[in-house]
């Protein structure tokens, strides 16, 4: 328990603690407005054309908001001091060494993937995927108001990515990762000598493949098969689904690829935590 109390007291973890409250609050706020829109229908044009002068109405709001935020910031700065540890020493590595809190979801991914995927490819895909969102989401509805009914797929994918894969992993990385990057529950003592008896094996090994070359091909087949789920679904539904036809082939390829990449993380987490799988695909050049 002391470790968690220590972590909570760490000044740099205040933002994460704040996120614990802010995210549910804003989810609730958005949900309430979405429910209202879904029940009463989209606000009419008349409401949009109801114009007010920026001065004084908007400027007043901005001013009040700025004062409140500056007040919070001032109180925060007076109450809590920024951390300063001892002078940097390249010869003394702390255990655990943690990245800044906003990168802890990325650091958490390192448990499940090699650095070139977790540290370079997946972050790159997150950025590319975020930028691609407006170009691949062709649903014209739900523009400029909260709704759930009109865009359930887009909302659930984004919320899964943002809440579970970004915020929750950040919280796990902050509060549950201890020495040796092992998971420590809040009530556990942070034992730097904790040994976790793990015998992680590769997926091919689990299927009884001992030969390196066969294992390589097997891994390739599994990964290729996973990404083939996209085309397979297209050939299955493409002819009959009006939505897929509107989306078009190029957009579909991008959507399915990004979606499968995103889902690869929770799948690998389940494989690692549930079945002690180390790699799905071991090749001479890289491991997945």
């Amino acid at each position: 328990m002391e470790n968690v109390l220590l972590l909570i007291e760490k000044p740099d973890n205040v933002p994460i603690l704040a996120m614990l409250f802010l995210i549910p609050f804003f989810m609730w706020l958005a949900y309430r407005q979405a429910r209202q829109t879904d029940r009463t229908g989209v606000p009419s044009d008349a409401a949009l054309n109801d114009k007010v002068y920026v001065w004084p109405y908007l400027c007043r709001n901005e001013f009040v908001c700025a004062i409140i935020i500056m007040l919070i910031l001032a109180v925060w700065s007076i109450m809590i001091d920024a951390p300063l540890e001892e002078m940097s020493d390249p010869a003394k590595t702390p255990n655990p060494s943690k990245a800044p809190w906003y990168f802890l979801a990325l650091q958490e991914m390192l448990v499940y993937f090699d650095p070139w995927i977790a540290g370079v490819v997946l972050p790159g895909l997150i950025i590319a995927g975020l930028i691609a969102i407006p170009y691949i989401d062709i649903n014209p509805k739900g523009k400029g108001y909260y709704t759930i009914k009109e865009r359930p797929f887009a909302l659930s994918v984004f919320c899964f990515g943002f809440i579970i894969l970004w915020i929750v992993l950040m919280i796990v990385g902050t509060f549950l990762r201890g020495p040796g990057w092992n998971i420590f529950m809040p009530w556990e003592y942070w034992d730097p000598h904790k040994l976790v008896p793990l015998t992680n094996v590769n997926l091919s090994y689990l299927f009884g493949i001992r030969d390196e070359m066969t294992a390589n091909f097997f891994g390739f087949a599994v990964v290729a098969g996973y990404f083939a789920l996209g085309p397979v679904f297209y050939f299955w539904k493409g002819k009959t689904s009006k939505f897929l036809q509107e989306l078009g082939l190029i957009r579909y390829v991008i959507v399915s690829f990004l979606f499968l990449c995103m889902m690869a993380l929770p799948i690998k987490m389940i494989l690692r935590l549930g079945l002690n799988i180390k790699y799905v695909w071991v090749s001479p050049w890289f491991n997945v």
Binding site: P43, S44, D50, E86, P115, L155
Partner: protein, 257 residues
């Protein structure tokens, strides 16, 4: 007394000096409200009028504005901190210590800078969340969403480069962990897949370019300092100008069109 004061105020606002600065006068008319926004360089980013729903805190969460406010706070406190800080490995840590113990309000200054930076990361993430939930990235705002994503990255990078500057254990190892990723970059990192081993070594890969060395050292400190104080804020300011301008050009704040 009250009458007297009103008379005095009127005298001041009618004086030539006052009118040379604020030209719009003070009648309670729509014309004055419009001029007050249009003739003010700080306010002219706004349109003269907006739809009523844009005033609603429940709709906007005010997060974009808070992000900008946090940026301004870090800019002001950051400039003040630069007076006391030298980005040299021998001095950096001592200078931060001096800020904490010797310089009047130094601790408060540093606290405000750090917490505003953290606040900016929070508010920019929540801003993106709000824009997604309201579908505000949809046509015609696609490009501005892309600019916003780049600004999100820049916010992370600004915060990350600043993290190293105190030059303590926390800073040093957080940045070491963060930049270790770069060595695994495919092709361009010396431990990444497909990197030609005889060409890409640990002293010429992307991590080396970022750190100015094979480990986080004095040249990293200088590099991160310059990135943090000059290069990245400059890019951020330009992109922010673009972002705000596009908000207006793309039809103002989003609503049910």
């Amino acid at each position: 007394m009250n009458e007297e004061r009103k008379g005095l105020i009127k005298k001041i606002t009618n004086s030539d000096i006052w009118k040379s600065i604020f030209r719009h006068g003070y009648e309670k008319t729509g014309r004055r409200y419009t001029l007050q926004v249009l003739q003010n360089v700080w306010l002219h980013l706004h349109p003269p009028r907006i739809s009523r729903h844009a005033l609603n805190f429940r709709f906007t969460w005010c997060m974009g504005g808070i992000t900008f406010l946090m940026f301004l706070v870090t800019a002001v406190t950051g400039v003040l901190l630069m007076f006391y800080y030298r980005p040299v490995a021998e001095y950096a840590f001592r200078d931060v210590q001096a800020l904490e113990f010797d310089i009047p309000f130094g601790m408060l200054l540093r606290n405000m800078h750090r917490w505003a930076a953290h606040g900016m990361v929070i508010s920019v993430m929540l801003h993106m969340f709000r824009v997604f939930l309201t579908g505000s990235y949809k046509k015609p705002r696609e490009f501005n969403w892309a600019v916003g994503v780049i600004l999100l990255l820049i916010t992370f990078f600004l915060s990350f480069t600043g993290y190293l500057l105190p030059w303590d254990q926390l800073a040093y190892w957080a940045v070491t962990v963060g930049t270790n990723m770069a060595r695994a970059t495919p092709v361009l990192g010396h431990e990444g897949p497909f990197a030609p081993a005889d060409i890409i070594t640990q002293s010429n890969d992307v991590r080396f370019a970022l750190l100015g060395g094979t480990i986080v050292g004095p040249s990293t400190l200088l590099r991160f300092y310059i990135l943090h104080c000059i290069a990245v804020p400059l890019v951020a300011s330009l992109l922010m100008a673009l972002h705000f301008w596009r908000v207006r050009k793309d039809g103002g704040i989003s609503g049910p069109l």
